[in-house]
């Protein structure tokens, strides 16, 4: 299991468009991908659950990957989040 802390840069937070891109990307890995935020854990492969986390601008999340391709998943997903999630 590997993890990394990331600050959300999108001024609108984790809203529909970026969340759906992130979920789609996360679904492409064999590892499980979770977002820990505000004391709770959310499945990053679900856009609905990501949105229910209500992650706002400047919040810090912990991205946790666990499985055969966990290193690759963590590196690529965290880079995607840090680069603004395609917004």
């Amino acid at each position: 299991m590997v993890s990394k802390n990331i600050v959300i840069q999108d001024p609108l937070g984790m809203h529909m468009r970026p969340a759906s891109r992130l979920a789609k990307m996360a679904a492409g890995y064999d590892s499980s991908v979770k977002v820990n935020f505000n004391g709770k854990s959310f499945d990053c492969k679900s856009v609905m659950l990501l949105m229910t986390a209500c992650i706002k601008y400047n919040s810090e999340i912990e991205l946790v990957c666990d499985g055969p391709d966990e290193e690759k998943a963590l590196a690529e997903l965290s880079e995607f989040i840090e680069s603004g999630m395609g917004e």
Partner: protein, 568 residues
């Protein structure tokens, strides 16, 4: 007879088609053949996703990318593992598809509704939409296809949604009646654009009528008759003919100058909201554009419009208008508008807050982008810059300074523009009325925005039914403001126009003529009406009427006197 709000003029007589909210109740039964139930559910989802994608493409072309993204979001939501995935699990456990759909959607609806983020709360209504659409598929409920309604249909519905309106075939729908909506509602604007008579806000009308009932829709008076007696019907058939004849009479004014009965020349301009509307302004014989609202560039967008995007839009309007004046109003929004990428804070009182020129001057980079796009576009026609919500002289000076900076840059870069581009004030606050004499020394022109001028002068929110009676441009306070603004403009020799609804009001026009208004900017469909009314008044007659009503002290007296003097 039922009374409603007269939202789109004309008389429509036809056969009713009701668009009813359907019964979506179902029996939650336990399923033994879960595989077949999952197939049934998968098919409903597939159909929904396919239709949603097709609709989104349509919307992207005809309405805008933001609205299309909302629809695409619906398809993404239902395909999410936490949505359909969870629903399939519940079907595996023996629940029927309808029950599984409802349970999961309602759970997410509850979670989103409870969030403290407005944008996220809106997702709750998306989930409700998705639920209803898929339930209809599961229950085999067909929506009425509005695009296939026969000729002579009067549409009766609770509210006209944009997706419904986009399907209306203008030749087949002769009237619209709804239970909600006002003159400025989305449905009213669309009905007027389609030139279909419409009466809105008729309480409970959907349940009061049956399909195939005969209806008369008087969109001029706001009256609705269902299955009328023979004499009423024949009266309205005559009225409809008269209206059509009147429209034909107005056509005689096409291509003519706007002249008073004395032969003095005035001008009728148009209010437009998109570059495409400029075509409409030309078709309706407008002599220019007195108000080009630029909000569409910002609201129907997913990002701050770039200089080039704006430049193309302004250029398109200017080229369409073929050298006629086009007065472009710079961005006029504030905290009442929810534009995700523009960080408006929620305000207790957005109409008295950080908006329009106040917001623009505080965000000079954004504002200069817009001004530069307008100045560049001025090479392609006669563009003028109008500044909204002016309350002091400094604001005008600051905008003019920005324009001068932009001109200097463009000169250096060798980019063409109109050196004489004018900067004018939109006169719509009580403050601008009081300092109209000072502003007239700074501005190149005035344009009176009577809608906001009435609101700000009377201190009235037009949307608040309890005080709406105070919202009238015929209140002595508003009439005096209009008179003062025109006189102050004239004293400095600058042109004065009006771009509010009052400019097309047959009762108001003689007063404006008397006060000396030069340019009347109206909805394109009212150009000929306004030109026809102006042709009937001499200056001396208008002056006599104005003198009489300005001596009166109440709105009621004034309106009564103007009605008595009106020339049909």
């Amino acid at each position: 007879m039922y009374k409603g709000i007269a939202a789109s003029r004309g008389i429509g007589i036809g056969s009713i088609c009701r668009i009813v909210e359907q019964d979506l109740s179902f029996e939650a039964k336990l399923i033994s053949d879960t595989a077949a139930e999952k197939d049934r559910f998968q098919k409903a989802i597939d159909d929904f996703v396919e239709e949603t994608f097709a609709m989104a493409e349509d919307v992207r072309k005809n309405i805008g990318p933001q609205e299309a993204d909302i629809l695409m979001g619906h398809a993404i939501m239902i395909q999410d593992p936490a949505m359909s995935g969870e629903m399939f699990n519940m079907i595996d456990a023996g629940q029927c598809a309808e029950a599984a759909l409802t349970a999961v959607c309602d759970m997410f609806h509850g979670m989103f509704s409870a969030m403290d983020d407005e944008m996220m709360r809106q997702r709750a209504s998306d989930i409700a939409d998705v639920k209803v659409c898929i339930l209809k598929k599961l229950l085999g409920i067909q929506d009425i296809e509005i695009s296939k309604l026969p000729a002579g249909t009067v549409l009766v519905c609770k509210d006209l949604t944009p997706s419904m309106t986009s399907q209306i075939v203008k030749e087949n729908v002769v009237g619209i009646i709804t239970e909600i909506g006002g003159v400025t509602s989305h449905s009213a604007i669309l009905a007027r654009a389609l030139e279909i008579p419409a009466v809105l806000s008729v309480p409970g009308i959907v349940d009061l009528v049956e399909d195939k009932d005969t209806a008369i829709v008087d969109g001029t008076a706001g009256d609705v008759f269902i299955n009328p007696e023979g004499d009423v019907l024949s009266k309205y058939i005559i009225k409809r003919e008269e209206f059509i004849k009147k429209q034909a009479e107005l056509r005689k004014f096409i291509g003519k100058e706007t002249l008073t009965a004395d032969g003095d020349k005035l001008e009728i301009y148009c209010n437009i909201g998109t570059p495409k509307d400029a075509k409409k302004a030309m078709e309706c014989d407008g002599e220019g554009v007195g108000l080009f609202r630029t909000e569409f560039l910002f609201m129907d967008n997913t990002h701050l419009p770039t200089e080039d995007e704006q430049f193309e839009a302004y250029k398109e309007a200017l080229q369409t208008m073929e050298g006629k004046n086009v007065i472009i109003r710079t961005l006029d929004i504030g905290g009442d508008k929810d534009i995700p990428y523009m960080d408006f804070e929620k305000e207790d009182n957005p109409f008295l807050g950080f908006r329009a020129v106040r917001y623009c001057l505080a965000n000079p980079d954004m504002y200069k982008t817009q001004l530069r796009a307008i100045v560049r576009a001025s090479a392609f026609g006669s563009a003028k810059i109008m500044v909204p919500l002016v309350t002091n002289v400094e604001e005008v000076r600051k905008v003019k300074k920005l324009v001068e900076e932009i001109k200097a840059d463009l000169r250096k870069e060798g980019i063409a523009f109109d050196e004489g581009i004018e900067v004018g004030c939109m006169m719509e606050t009580a403050a601008s009325t009081m300092i109209a004499d000072l502003l007239a020394k700074e501005a190149d022109f005035f344009s009176i925005g009577t809608n906001d001028l009435t609101g700000y002068t009377m201190g009235v929110d037009r949307g608040n039914a309890k005080v709406a009676y105070l919202y009238s441009a015929f209140e002595p306070a508003v009439l005096r403001s209009i008179k003062r603004i025109i006189e102050c403009g004239k004293a400095e020799g600058i042109p004065v126009g009006m771009c509010g609804e009052a400019a097309a009001d047959p009762l108001m026009i003689p007063l404006l003529m008397s006060f000396g208004l030069d340019e009347y900017s109206v909805n394109p469909v009212l150009v000929l009406t306004a030109r026809c009314i102006i042709s009937k008044w001499t200056k001396a007659e208008a002056d006599a009427l104005a003198e009489k009503v300005l001596a009166m002290s109440t709105q009621e007296e004034i309106v009564a006197a103007l009605k008595a003097a009106a020339k049909e």
